[in-house]
């Protein structure tokens, strides 16, 4: 189920030069799985901004977002107490019920966001996930301490080598002999492509695409899968590795 509701900003603060953390208070009953997203109406912008849910509880939603354009810039200027119109409960989310012993949670840049609640879910079940986060540079690194604080096994890679392993998430998997038996990934397309060809175990990936509605009626975010055309906003954003087609 998905619904629209008005939320109140509790916190909206920078984690790095481009990444913001926003905590919103309001009805969270339509969020049912880690990896779902919300679609945020921004004053003066025609379309909403689809943003992954980083975490949620009974009365709050945490969003992590990069300031990439005018819409997210406007969001970043909202102060405590400001009201935001959100559609919540969008998308399928990650399947946290798969059978595995050592799940790998692989995030690229802002793609680390939806993995946070997923890590919590696995830890609550008594399984310690491996979290591997990739960023361009040390200045972009976010959420490392937060994932550690949960109790996850955390690795970081930076493209320029200024923090953690030099290179990509895939380099960490190889160099550290991580040996996970299932993966969850969210990040830029080149990263997801590399994971699908370079990681042997099964997994699922959260895709990011320009959207209009976010609830499945406009067909702007379709992807061809092995089981036909799917809407990233509705049947996705999470797809099984074996379902995706890489050209």
């Amino acid at each position: 189920m998905y619904k629209r509701n008005i939320y109140k900003v509790r916190t909206n603060r920078p984690l790095s030069a481009k990444t913001m953390l926003m905590v919103l208070e309001g009805d969270t009953q339509y969020l049912t799985a880690p990896g779902q997203f919300v679609n945020v109406a921004v004053e003066g912008k025609f379309l909403r901004r689809p943003i992954s849910v980083c975490d949620y509880d009974a009365e709050s939603i945490t969003l992590l977002y990069d300031i990439v354009g005018e819409g997210t810039k406007a969001m970043s200027l909202l102060g405590e107490g400001a009201e935001l119109d959100l559609l919540t409960g969008l998308g399928n989310g990650f399947d946290a019920d798969v059978e595995c012993h050592r799940p790998m949670l692989l995030g690229g840049g802002i793609g680390c966001a939806p993995l946070y609640n997923l890590a919590k879910v696995w830890l609550q079940r008594g399984v310690r996930p491996v979290v591997i986060l990739g960023f361009n540079s040390k200045a972009d690194v976010v959420m490392e301490e937060e994932f550690k604080g949960l109790g996850a096994e955390v690795y970081v890679a930076t493209v320029d080598g200024s923090h953690g392993t030099k290179g990509f998430v895939t380099d960490v998997i190889r160099n550290e002999h991580i040996g996970g038996d299932y993966f969850y990934a969210c990040g830029p397309m080149p990263m997801l492509r590399a994971l699908c060809s370079g990681v042997e175990c099964d997994g699922e990936l959260s895709l990011d695409e320009r959207m209009a509605c976010g609830f499945g009626v406009c067909m702007c975010c379709s992807v061809q899968t092995k089981s036909g055309a799917k809407r990233i906003c509705k049947e996705g954003p999470v797809f099984k590795k074996e379902d995706l087609i890489w050209k």
Binding site: Y2, A41, F46, A212, F215, G216, C218, M219, C220
Partner: protein, 299 residues
Amino acid sequence: MSVCLGDVRLDNPVIPASGCFGYGYGMSEFYDINILGSISFKGTTREARYGNPLPRVAECSAGMINSVGLQNPGIDAVIAEELPKMRAVFHKPIIANISGFSIDEYVECCEKITGQEQVEIIELNVSCPNVHGGGMSFGTSAESVAEVVRAVKRVVTKPLYVKLTPNVTDIVSIAKAAEEAGADGLCLINTMLGMRINTATRKPVIANVMGGFSGAAVFPVAVRMVHQVSKACSVPVIGCGGVESAGDVIEMMMAGATAVEVGAANLRNPYACKEIIEALPAEMERLKIEKLSDIIGIV
């Protein structure tokens, strides 16, 4: 609030436009869609279509550009799977939006859909390129619009409405050609051709370069064209383009529309049609309108 599109009576004039409401049932998660006058379902073609490459959408001031490319499961799957799901939750007249890339395709799709229960109006989208006519859109020439309307009229038993493209020099001549060829009504406007460029990457935002521009920004164009066409033609006109409020519905009806389609507004606000319908009585009272049917084309 009721209006009559020919013999088809709608409880109110508000209709979600094709492509902005799917086949309806997905929207019933938001609200009871039976409050709507009708629904124009997603443009349907003979074969299943995946549509255009991504990205398919770009944002503009007061609007958006889309280039979905008529992604749909094809007429047979629509009849077998989508329509039953739609009928399960929606009990009002359905407008079947049919697209095609050849006259044969239009005819075949219309032949199949015309007998379907609850489909009360067939809305012909003539904005697609004609693959036999050098790729030019059917809707940009009076002759090809007339040709497709005549061919489809021979096979349909339901009222046939032609959804016109605004990307023409003289909308009135094309509307008249459709009427003379036997159209029972007209719907206008479809999207306007637009384009955005990402100045950082120096590339078009949309993979297909251009797309259909819709949203509040096109409302004055739609009002103008509805006004011109409804003065020149005697068949009912469904007004469409940039409608976002009860006030817009009334303005469109004063311009000459018998009913009004709401498109892009649904994509930002899934409750747009519901809010418009709920706001209509107060807006009518404010403007001293007793019956909506009284104001059709009064300007």
